[in-house]
Point group: C2
DNA sequence: ATGAAAGCGCTAACAT
DNA sequence: ATGTTAGCGCTTTCAT
């Protein structure tokens, strides 16, 4: 139907919600007084008035109109979260952490889905600016440079008017103007390196990597880190199959790898658990076994990883905490990132080689 | 210092974002004209003016201030979604569906977490009303009556001013005023009943149920439906262990059941996959095997269910679609629910008994 | 077709 | 301590 949206309902017989005016009148005080007791900053109103206002508000079922407050104040109590896919457990955990923090501060979080489409992301970014949110959290992993240009411009605009931007992933491009962007850095390279070392120690010598397209930082860092650590122990990364972050992508990449032939005792490293889980299903679908035959490990430690059999070896990342920190990075002025400990968790999918 | 805004940042050197005024001035037209071309309803402005305004907007990087539009229009372009826990895949899928729809209509979705705490839910509901959202989607499963009173009042208030409320689950309490609430009904009882029948046909005769507290509709419906169908085939539900919707709760309930003793070939029905997954891990932790020894089935078919080994038998619910429908229920005036087909999916966790 | 001006509900100087 | 009164940025009659 038509844009701009005529009100949802009939529009005529809608009893307007009680306004501050209504409350003030009902309580027999001025608008200002009502505002002060209901929303203003603490002590200032005499007990008698205060009580009358409160009673009136209660009686009328008054709720402050957030939009009006926002236009008057110049900023709204919202934190905008950008994720690639909210159904993905990785983002789900992060979102939960952000929501937890926002809630403590009475802020509301809006969430937008980029579907990993850079163009879409830019559109969203622009629209989001219109919300004049307190802050913006970019959790959607992107290829940093591909579209850095226009996104960067959008972000700058964002900060220019006072909004705070925090991004997941690595430090922003080399001083290209994103100076104000705070980043939640997860030690992808370090965790993966340690994982590689541990896998080599377990006896593995040959690995296949499954990652996203080149240029996607998270993927690259994990793949490189793993390769480095694995090499330290004498292992070599034979080949890398690329796709994206979806489970099906992991399954497809693994199927392709299997097609080319995969020797027993080979280790498959999926750049994320979701992808590794997909790979596991492809291995089974091909009639091979996960573990003794083909070993698999991932990264993130989403909850499903502990449920599969054999359970998935991975690197635990405190995602919920990371989300919470992203929130703090927005509201705390002197924020400095607290380290997010990543930890290798060895499970059944990578049995020790005799 | 400037009025109306001690903004989050330094406050002094913040270049205000371009306003409609700025654009109008820059384009040499009136505020009204600028408004019309930038946001107003279609054709009305002469091509020449229209172009100048567009160019000016572009040059200034203008983005409409959503809050201001909302106060002027009387309603904001937001859909508020209430879930118990966004990290739970059940809600994650629903949220994805809602987001998909909202996005198509240029609406933003805000999400709030109830943590399954009724009191918290009421607080949130009240705050949400202040956002004057277009609609409200209640996906957090609640015990319908426990706190129906105050929640109901809140919802009524919500609708009174023109907001649409849609709830997941069953028809609202018996005509208690929730008349306007649209519901997305998922055939929990029917799906569970069919599942029970199928399980009996597989040869199972004795089952243990794991559910939430009595009074929680979703749980009750599934448990009852299953029991009914299972009985049809000659099976009996021996006992029910209660907890909540969390994975750990499922594990605890299962541990308790194991403590009391569980005969081989018993079937465990978890009211949700997440709970069933928790039960599976408890079974393994106790040194028993899932499948041939103790069979397990769940409900929802979240993605992890297909990944575990043995894969979990369950009832597939089109959650993403359900979320999308919830969205449609808010924006479509003559909305009527399209059926959401549930389907039993038998997998390895419930092998046929010889 | 365009512009002037009156709100929308609320906040925050600025008086008193 | 309370009330007055400008705004906030935008939409929308109502004239012209």
């Amino acid at each position: 139907m038509n844009p701009g949206s005529p009100s949802p309902r009939a529009a005529s017989d809608i009893p307007h919600a009680a306004t501050l005016q209504d409350v003030a009148r009902e309580a027999g005080v001025s608008l200002a007084t009502a505002s002060r007791v209901l929303n203003g900053s603490e002590r200032k109103v005499a007990g008698a008035f205060r009580e009358r206002v409160e009673r009136a508000a209660e009686a009328l079922g008054y709720t402050p109109n957030v939009s009006a407050q926002a236009t008057a104040r110049g900023h709204s109590p919202v934190i905008a979260l950008l994720v690639a896919d909210i159904a993905d457990p990785y983002f789900g955990q992060i979102a939960a952490g952000v929501a937890r923090g926002a809630d403590e501060h009475g802020l509301v979080v809006t969430i937008s889905i980029t579907e990993r489409d850079p163009e879409r992301e830019n559109r969203i970014l622009r629209a989001l600016r219109g919300q004049r949110p307190q802050g913006l959290i970019l959790a959607a992993s992107r290829a940093d440079d591909a579209e850095g240009g226009s996104a960067s411009a959008e972000l700058e605009a964002f900060e220019r008017y006072g909004g705070r931007v925090v991004a997941f992933g690595d430090l922003p491009g080399d001083g290209d103007g994103d100076a104000g962007v705070r980043t939640i850095v997860i030690d992808n390279a370090g965790g993966a390196e340690e994982l590689g070392r541990r896998m080599a120690a377990l006896g593995y010598r040959s690995a296949i990597g499954i990652g996203a397209a080149e240029g996607v930082r998270t993927s690259d860092d994990r793949l490189n880190g793993f390769t480095r650590g694995f090499a330290t122990g004498g292992g070599t990364m034979d080949r890398i199959h690329r796709g994206d972050f979806r489970r099906e992508s992991g399954a497809e990449a693994m199927a392709a790898a299997l097609e080319e032939g995969v020797e027993p005792s080979t280790l498959v490293f999926g750049m994320s658990d979701v992808v590794a889980l997909g790979a596991m299903s492809a291995i089974r679908a091909a009639g091979r076994a996960v573990g003794a035959d083909i070993a698999v490990c991932g990264f993130d430690d989403v909850s499903a990883s502990g449920d599969v059999t054999p359970a998935l070896t991975t690197v635990r990342v405190p995602l919920n905490e990371a989300g919470y920190q992203a929130f703090r990075a927005i509201v705390d002025d002197g924020w400095i990132q607290a380290p997010l400990p990543v930890e290798v968790v060895v499970r059944g999918s990578t049995p020790g080689l005799a």
